[in-house]
């Protein structure tokens, strides 16, 4: 098969995933909850702080994603396994990795859409005072990267079970651990050598760096390769069905 038609299959699969998201309440509940939680929590502190900055919003973002990313991905494979559609899907002329990639990209599109809809926040803040756009751009990029990694983890965990609730809770726990590993709270308790390692592998430190406006390709690369690892594991799980 030509490369072009391979990508075409991924595109068709993404279309179907999005169709399922938007034909069911999933997408609306996700976007609604995301906007509501983010805006409310942000404006709670914004007027108290009295600073034209989105720092407190981007500090919240990883925690909001912690709940919402596994909520998007929990059904992705679990439901296919429970209802048996996975058998239908994987007996179509497509490869496992195309199916994995499509599920990931569809979830990422949903997440990116939700993030885009928060653009009213920086616009409002910019209207109220002098906003430094560097950390905002970095924060959005970091949010997309961190969210993407959470989605990849959630997908991988979803592929391990038929039960959506287990997929959700285990996904949340896994994301939480990966995020918290590089928090100062954990790092101070670790010996110096381990702390360096934990700081590198933790998802939180890279997000902090990005959301401060320091856009370093190494941080982005961390997210891309970590997400890739979990997608690869997801593919291995699918291949092990036989």
């Amino acid at each position: 098969m030509r490369k072009e038609s391979k990508l075409k299959i991924v595109k068709i699969l993404i279309g179907k995933e999005l169709e399922v998201y938007f034909n069911s309440p999933i997408a609306y509940v996700f976007i609604g909850a995301f906007l509501l939680a983010g805006n409310w929590l942000f404006f709670n502190y914004f007027f108290v702080n009295g600073q034209a900055s989105l720092r407190s919003y981007f500090a919240l973002l990883p925690w909001i994603f912690l709940f919402l990313a596994p909520a998007i991905t929990m059904r992705a494979w679990s439901e296919e396994k429970r209802s048996g559609t996975i058998e239908f899907l994987l007996t179509l002329p497509l490869s496992d990795w195309q199916a994995v990639l499509a599920k990931f990209l569809a979830a990422l599109i949903l997440l990116a859409l939700a993030l885009t809809l928060t653009i009213s926040l920086p616009l409002t803040v910019a209207g109220l005072g002098a906003l430094d756009w560097g950390p905002v751009v970095g924060g959005y990029l970091g949010g997309l990267c961190l969210g993407g990694l959470y989605l990849a983890i959630g997908l991988f965990i979803s592929s391990l079970t038929k039960n959506q609730i287990i997929a959700f809770v285990a996904g949340l726990a896994a994301c939480f651990v990966l995020f918290i590993v590089s928090s100062s709270f954990v790092l101070t308790g670790l010996p110096a050598t381990l702390a360096t390692v934990a700081n590198f592998f933790g998802a939180g430190s890279h997000f902090d760096a990005l959301s401060r406006g320091l856009i370093d390709t190494r941080d982005v690369l961390y997210y891309v390769s970590a997400a890739w690892l979990f997608l690869w594991l997801n593919g291995r799980v699918l291949a092990s069905r036989k």
């Binding site: 034909n23 209802s83 996975i86 239908f88 007996t91 036989k242």
Partner: protein, 308 residues
């Protein structure tokens, strides 16, 4: 069209399939018959590339299902057991999705969907959510999906399970219609279904093929020959002396291997059709024939005996 050679499948230490060899010729409708858990579904999962064999090979249209998975998947239309469908999609959306993945050209796609929907009788529900459909309609959506890309081979796993009698008849007619152009392998544990639509039956039990052939052949082979029933105006049984003489006379005919009293008449097992000779014998002896018939094959007996 489908060639299975020495197929073995082990799953977590259990031997599910043992040395299955089976060929399905182009244009044939073959029924895979067996009790629950015999290995029918496993065989189909391997043919369709969902699972991989532990040993042995499966070829579809000359191509290996493991090495040329994408090409063989494209040749096959598959209806998995219990018809898994995406409940959130509408019937049309779903068929369009399948058609695109099956690489049907955009300008032909709508035509193909219409055609498949017509063959399967889906016109009335084409705009409905799949989650709201009845079991019968779901089954037809599953079939429409399987025939959409005009595959050479159809693999149908228990296509009539859970349907009401009218729907069963409709689906059977559909399979027979499709079977005129395609190679069909379907599984069932309903015996009458096999007799109604199959060219050939393969009986599987505990992962092994225990019998294969045309439905009639199978039962006659098992019974040791053709079964013929004859009864006369004068009822006889083993107690009456006339009965004993009659029995002996019938047994003397060339080709008859066994004669038994049966409800006042006789049940005869023969290696050839001895009805003409029976008639002549009866005329000679002035026995008035009330009934003379080649017995309907009874697959149920075969099945019971083979899967004991």
């Amino acid at each position: 069209m489908i060639e299975i050679k020495n197929l073995n499948k082990e799953l977590s230490g259990h031997e599910i399939l043992r040395d299955i060899s089976l060929t399905v010729n182009p244009g044939e409708i073959v029924g895979l018959l067996g009790p629950n858990g015999a290995g029918k579904t496993t065989t189909m999962k391997i043919i369709t590339g969902f699972w991989q064999p532990t040993a042995g090979t499966v070829k579809v249209g000359g191509l290996d299902v493991v090495k040329d998975a994408l090409a063989t998947k494209q040749k096959i239309g598959y209806l998995p057991e219990n018809v898994p469908l995406y409940d959130e999609q509408k019937v049309f959306e779903y068929l369009k999705f399948v058609g695109q993945l099956r690489d049907i050209a955009a300008d032909k796609l709508i035509g193909r969907i219409k055609e498949a929907a017509m063959i399967c009788g889906l016109q009335d529900v084409i705009g409905q959510n799949i989650g709201q459909l009845s079991k019968g309609y779901r089954q037809r959506v599953g079939l429409a999906q399987a025939i959409l890309h005009q595959p050479e081979v159809l693999i149908l796993d228990e296509p009539t399970t859970g349907l009401d009698p009218n729907q069963i008849v409709q689906i059977r007619e559909l399979i027979q219609k499709l079977g005129k152009e395609k190679t069909v392998l379907f599984s069932t544990h309903i015996l009458s279904e096999v007799q109604a639509i199959c060219d050939r039956v393969v009986i599987i039990n505990q992962g092994k093929i225990v019998g294969a052939g045309k439905p009639q052949e199978l039962s006659s082979r098992l019974a040791g020959g053709l079964a013929i029933k004859i009864s006369f105006a004068e009822k006889n049984d083993s107690a009456s002396p006339a009965g004993g003489a009659q029995l002996a006379a019938i047994k003397n005919l060339a080709g008859v291997t066994e004669v038994k009293f049966d409800n006042g008449g006789y049940k005869i097992i023969a290696t050839r059709d001895v009805r003409a000779d029976l008639f002549k014998l009866a005329v000679e002896r002035y026995w008035v024939i009330m009934e003379l018939a080649l017995q309907e094959t009874n697959l149920e007996d075969v099945f019971k005996q083979l899967t004991k």
